[in-house]
């Protein structure tokens, strides 16, 4: 089997080498953030604080993967726009559903019945 000869010349090669190092660095950062996330859930902070920290870490990991590993940083902006359209629609659907089902009148009936039983028992 003959190996194809690399055609990139030195400036390109330097760029590709730095990309290799960048990928390894990003992977290490992702691993460290994951470790911190796991420790965070055991810290004695208030729930809203922990929630914000965990969602923040998750968002950082998400953005690092899409912009570095998925090459959005180097690709045409249209790729980013297309993906973010899906992301905003997906996120918006999540927000809408959570809000709708969080409303008192929309809670699942069985959950309402349980809540009523708890109130009556109390």
């Amino acid at each position: 089997m003959s190996e194809p000869t690399p055609v990139l010349t030195s400036p390109g090669h330097a760029a590709e080498e730095s990309k290799f190092q960048l990928f390894v660095q990003v992977a290490m950062i992702l691993a460290v953030i994951t470790g911190i996330e796991i420790i965070t859930v055991y810290l004695p902070f208030a729930r809203p604080v922990l929630f914000t920290i965990l969602v923040g870490f998750s968002a950082v990991k998400f953005l690092l993967v899409i912009f570095i590993f998925m090459h959005l940083r180097w690709d045409r902006p249209l790729c980013t726009i297309i993906f973010f359209i899906g992301l905003v629609l997906g996120g918006g659907t999540m927000w809408a559903l959570l809000t709708l089902f969080g409303a008192e009148a929309s809670k699942p009936l069985s959950a309402m019945a349980e809540a009523a039983r708890t109130v009556l028992a109390g």
């Binding site: 045409r76 790729c79 899906g86």
Partner: protein, 284 residues
Amino acid sequence: MSNAASGALDHHFDPTTSTGIPNKKLLMWMFLASDCMFFGCLISTHLIYRLHPPPGTPSAKSVFSIELTSFSIFILLMSSLMMALAVNSIQKGNLKTLRSSLLTTILFGSIFLGCQVFEFNNFVFEKHLTITNSILGTTFFTLTGTHGCHVAVGVFWLILMYVRSFQPKDTTAARGWFLRNVLHVVALLATVLLGMMLVLKLVRALEAAPSFGAGMGLWLRDYWIALIGIALTGSLLRFFARPAGAVAFDEHNAIDVEMMGLYWHFVDIVWIVIFTAVYLLEYI
């Protein structure tokens, strides 16, 4: 020096399309955008029923194993690194590194799937959480099972791409190359499945046995045929991967590997969200 001047391919710009983006890549980004909405609905369904659990719903905290999930997310993150390195290597025309990176990604993907099979087994047979006996089971297994199916499709795609890199340049001269590649796929698939089964059975045997030696003894006694099988499929893989002339796979195929990479990284980011939304938030 510009890429055009150096004669190198520009992997981020395609002058033949009006957008400057290769059509395959555009299609993949559109698919991933639609998959965001799909997973968004599955995750929100799970969260709604976690926020308003019907009576009798078991505590997720008593069912989940944070250690196993942490291990599996670490494995998936490392597989993403290997996938990024695979794309990087084919863009430089480095076939040898591409193949080793793809094989490592396949290995990590299989470990992730093995962890999921182990977790599901544990939930069903030890924690008695099934897809039908509680709403937690329904939403959890639907969400993580769908993600697992995406990973399984990704592993199969990786296997196909790995074998594709062995397609001979002159297909008329290399007779039987197609059958050879089909057998190569079958051998790799069999190795992955046998490997997963053997590791899972080893873990089960070690859990059940009173000592490490007894567990190993039981495992060897029960699965020696599978061990011979994996040795045979491993030898077949070495045979199929031996040098056999020029191949029709170089940096011009980088777009195919990159598309597959986009899919794989997407599976990774979905797990990043699931890890926080489904697992970690239960612990606060």
